[in-house]
Amino acid sequence: MRKLWLVAAAAVLSLAVAQTAPSLPSYSGPPVTLTFWSWVPGIDKAVAAFEKAYPNITVNASNVGSGPNEYTKLLTALKAGTGAPDVVQIEYDFLPNFIDFGGLADLSKYGADKYSSLFVPWTWSQVSPQGKAVYAIPQDTGPFALVYREDLYKKYGLSVPKTWAEFEANAKKLAQETNGSVQYTDFYSTYAPWFMGLVWADGGRLWTHSGNSWTQSLNSASAKKVIDYWGKLVDNKYAATLPDFTSELNSALAKGQITTLIEAAWGPGSLASRLGSESAADWRAAPLPQWGTDGTFHSGNWGGSSTAVTVQSKHPDAATIFALWLNANGTALGLNWENGGLFPAAKAGLDLPALHDSSKNPSKFFGGQDIAKVYADASAGVPTDFQWAPWFLYANNSFNKYIADAVAGKTGWSAALDAWQQDVLNYAKTQGYQVSGQ
């Protein structure tokens, strides 16, 4: 009798679980073939697993280039009216551009809105900016943490900074100790989203909108605080300005000429594959330094992608199912972490054993540290209401110009943000957006 009661309780319990986490949809339509553009390394493994689970849906995945290289092709195909894939990888910051372009299907028509609870909250507000239409399914995120060379910290007697003040003190100490031959950190002067992520971590906002009217504040007090802080590090030569993903930066890291980086959750995997055996197991991750000591932990986000369905797709229903499965199914999440270093946007993904496997990269590269734990905590500290503008691509390119001026010492750092704000504002206005500066 008691046993029976237990069984009944278990049944009720599992029902309750099923209600909080809706199971992924099944597909009963005719056989279809989808095309899929993505630059995630090894995504074909997750795709193969999907085809096994959904025999009636075939997915042809291809890598047409990463980031902007893919976007130029997508934009052209959308404009041409033909040639766009059914399903496509797009980073969060570029989504509003494509939504505004009119190129993405509203997946709430195919039931995607029912699955919002599966994902980390801030990611859902990125793919569904108005809270109604759903333009993509969150794939992965890039919350910030501090990554550093533990061997160099020991060698130079540095301790892991908890605040930005300690971060700067470390930088100064290191410069004095090594006579400037080793730089504490690197400022990614050609990656606007990296800087924006740091503003995000400070609780700053760059764009807000209500209805059709936008407010842009690229030179807000928060943005200026962040840029002045980093500008000082650059001016004092505490921070190098080597662009990310270059062999020059890789070489400086491998030689121990730079000790610390602010990296997104996909950064450790990228470092592990870029540096190979060089400086392997010397790296560690720690929470992002904080501005204040108010007790609440804040982080920002850099990059991370979503999976969208284009308006050219003839099978948006099947495409939606694929996008959901790829980013919420446990098998897919495990495969994508292992092969592509994707830090899942799905809540369930954060507890996957695969993420915490210390014998494999990227954890192995970090001396077996459970770095997924550091990044899961970071993810929880990302403010949820950060928004991008449809003219983000212009803002992104324009940032490089003004920051290059500041790096060269031609303008001050805050002044560079003022000029950036003005330039982007002018551009947005010529494009016909209702936008005001603040």
Binding site: K73, T76, G102, P243, S247, E248, K401, A408
Partner: protein, 277 residues
Amino acid sequence: MGWSPARAHPTGRVDDAKTLYLSLFTQHGIRPKVFTGLANYVRVLHDGQFLSSLGTIAKFGVIQIPVMLLLALALALYLDGLRSARWRSYFSLSFFLPYAMPTVIGGLLWGYLYSKGLSPFNQMLAPLGGQIDFLGRSGLLWSLGNIITWTWTGYNMIILYSALRGVPGELYEAARIDGATNLQVIRFIKLPMVAPALALAALFSIIGTLQIFAEPFVLGSLTFVPTNLMPNLYIYFTAFNYGNFNYAAALAVVLAIITFALSLGMLALLNFQRRRL
């Protein structure tokens, strides 16, 4: 020189009539397009970024084209003066080789040679305490000029060298009999005979310079390259990055008109000089 994005894009050749047609409309994303007549052209004339890209390319061409052509001429004269046919073909091939290399590969190769920390040039300079930031703000255009000179000198040299090979041997013989020195042969026979080819090479270079694209585009992954450094780069970003194809079409038409006008001007100048001679 380099490639034009409109021509090399995977969706195929966008022909000129279509470009002209597109430039008369305004379209937000893929929403219905609206006929706006010459509005895009009015905007081009007030577009500071585009105008500054034209200024940059003019400054660039005024220095780079003469340097490249003088170098090509010197090499062609040197080759022409060589007695051994084997050495002639060896040198002409090796000078020509950079042109045969895909522009993107050449750009990446130079990008490595230019990088601040890894550059072998900087490693050689290191003991002297010097380090050159080839891709920095003030170095970028010079570095680009070097890549383009490296690529195209051989090509221009071949044009000039072929012209030199076409000079009838009797002329040289006659000059020798008259007691002309080597320098006099160059000054009074070779240079006048090669002048039309030089003019042609200059014309090609002007057209090519206005179309520079791949080199700055490739360097963009290694350093900060303004999106409006060169006109074609700006057109590319406007179309394929910002999705403003109609405005990009207007920019492309204006660039084509400028190229056409410059070519015509150059030809008229040459004809005028020829008639005067």
